[in-house]
Symmetry: C3
Subunit: 261 residues, 3 copies
């Protein structure tokens, strides 16, 4: 999943043509779509969809819509969903990173978004590091399981665009694998998308969980490096990922004969 | 104001189409225009102007022109101004970041540039952090007031492309708001453009002075994040900027009911 | 030499049109070309070649090809060379950053690549900083001289994409000029390409060796800043590079009269 906030239509088309084999979802982040003309946004979404790359609203925009509407049961929120759908978005990110939504309402909102025609991906995590730090691993797992039971197709473990000091990322951007292992064990690797904007994080995650793990918040131009890491085409992973020595979650650290320096 | 040194004509058009509602001025920085073919530069400038985005020469190029000419009164400098105008630039950045220009000559040069057809924006600050550190707040204010009196339409408080260790930015990129408040109080928020290349700086400045503040040296692709911050569409600003609780220079830190986590 | 892994065909064309006067070689890095459709890669290579910019495979891809083939004497490696040539690449980077190749075989492989129609550029350095640190300056020089004698048109002093903790770059990205002077003295400035991805490194290298030095692993959009540094159009170099006071390897630090602040 790529976090995108920079392309015009021509840039989107050029990127999608090149990235279509390795990109799954483009998230139009930060509500940036609201900053340019409607026809520009529609054109971009259409281009991504044409290349088989799914398109997702950013979660904060949905939060903003709920607040602006005065609550998710108010008419303007339903109108927001219709509007977003009419623009062409296939996916909607549901989150409460900046606002508070009680658990019973979360399920309702997810259902509303699904009924509006979206594939829903639910994010777990707070934008404010101090608030996010209060979420225990157990709480994150519970929120994720609830989101999946409510119909979310995937859950996102948030790390923001910075990848630092949020979720399972330490303040200097290291992955806390003890916590991540626990989350993956509980919700399943196939149900999780891990936001991992930095290359070191991406490499460490591919090394530990194999090329099948879903990563998110990749910058559009970084996807080629990430894809090369995943495919074992970079120096960092050539020996290990090429070894084809995967097990379910842990990669053999032994290199095959002939690979050693 | 965006600092631009990377687009070809197609990239410029694609970006301008997308950014036209939030971008005011594109600065063709570092004299990079001199590195590519004249027709490429002309085409880019025309595209920006067509989308209603004004175009500005970088200040160092003007300094280079003065030095190469052997002084601003020599014929080659007048030729440089004519040439820059013929390329289509609407704005000219006047600075003495790398050279020394006595105060009485500064007014003369600004007048020459206005007479040549440019809207002039004058930058205050030195490229060399050691030299820049010798400029007191009082001196900066005096230089800015003089530049405005001489006909500059705006003054720029320099922070270079790095945003670190120059002007009101500390070595690690924090904004020294005591100094900035003083400068704004003296020259007026509407007359100032604050170079703030880093997102944290942009966020802090929007939070303190509201969405009407002019920021500069934004990277072309960062303008969408900056615009989202300003509009309150990002998690960082959604609660505060949406509160519509601005006063002239200081933003209420209280969130409206219902926004709290 | 630019390290490129992000453009689609339209982006490549737009960039090449703008950069053609200052870019020499584009390296399609990280085997990223293998991640997108063959026709996309071919189109990009053709565009670069049309603008007079030469195109080079990344070295790790060649290493991967040797390993996948089961050795450089096996048929699939010859097929890889034919395939890369048929795509349009003019240059091939030969390296052993991730694998081990005994010295006698290095010459054989370089010859094979030349026979396959490539201009060969040989990189010296290891991807793993711990292994790279074991290469003494003397050993690097010996490997470079051997590569040149074997027919390489240039040798690359590796610094990876990060420019930190590899070759002559310290862990925090400073250039160790004692070592670099020694290497240049032994192999010749004109035979060397120095990977210098960071702007500070580029500036320091231009200041010391003049505008004729070859630098590599420049990001596509950074080439304009690098070109402006080299031409003396940036504040950092305006006074020194404009002074035209070069000697072979060391630049006079004295500014001409009239340049001083």
């Amino acid at each position: 999943m790529v976090i995108e906030k920079e392309f015009g239509p021509a840039g989107a088309a050029d990127w999608a043509k090149t990235a279509r084999r390795i990109a799954g979802i483009v998230k139009c982040a930060f509500g940036t779509g609201a900053l340019y003309d409607r026809d520009v946004l529609e054109e971009k979404i259409k281009i991504y969809n044409t290349y088989g790359i799914r398109t997702m609203t950013g979660g904060t925009l949905t939060e903003s819509a709920i607040i602006t509407a005065g609550g998710y049961k108010e008419k303007p929120f339903a109108e927001y969903l219709r509007y977003a759908k009419s623009l062409g978005f296939t996916h909607l990110e549901f989150s409460d990173g900046s606002i508070y939504i009680p658990e019973e309402k979360r399920g309702d909102i997810i259902k509303m978004c699904i009924d509006a025609g979206f594939t829903v991906i639910s994010e777990v995590g707070k934008k404010d590091p101090a608030k996010d730090a209060k979420l225990t691993v157990e709480k994150r797992i519970q929120l994720m399981q609830h989101a999946l039971q409510s119909g979310s197709s995937l859950v996102i473990l948030a790390a923001r665009e910075s990848g630092k000091g949020i979720g399972v990322m330490t303040a200097d951007g290291k992955v806390m694998f003890d916590e991540l292992d626990e989350i993956i064990g509980a919700v399943g690797l196939e149900n999780l998308m891990i936001e991992a904007p930095n290359k070191g994080q991406q490499q460490d995650i591919f090394m530990r969980y194999g090329p099948g793990v879903n990563i998110g918040n990749v910058q559009p131009h970084d996807i080629f490096s990430a894809g090369a890491l995943r495919a074992g085409l970079r120096g960092d992973t050539i020996k290990k990922l090429r070894a084809d020595a995967w097990n379910k979650y842990h990669l053999s650290q032994e290199a095959p004969e002939g690979y050693e320096v």
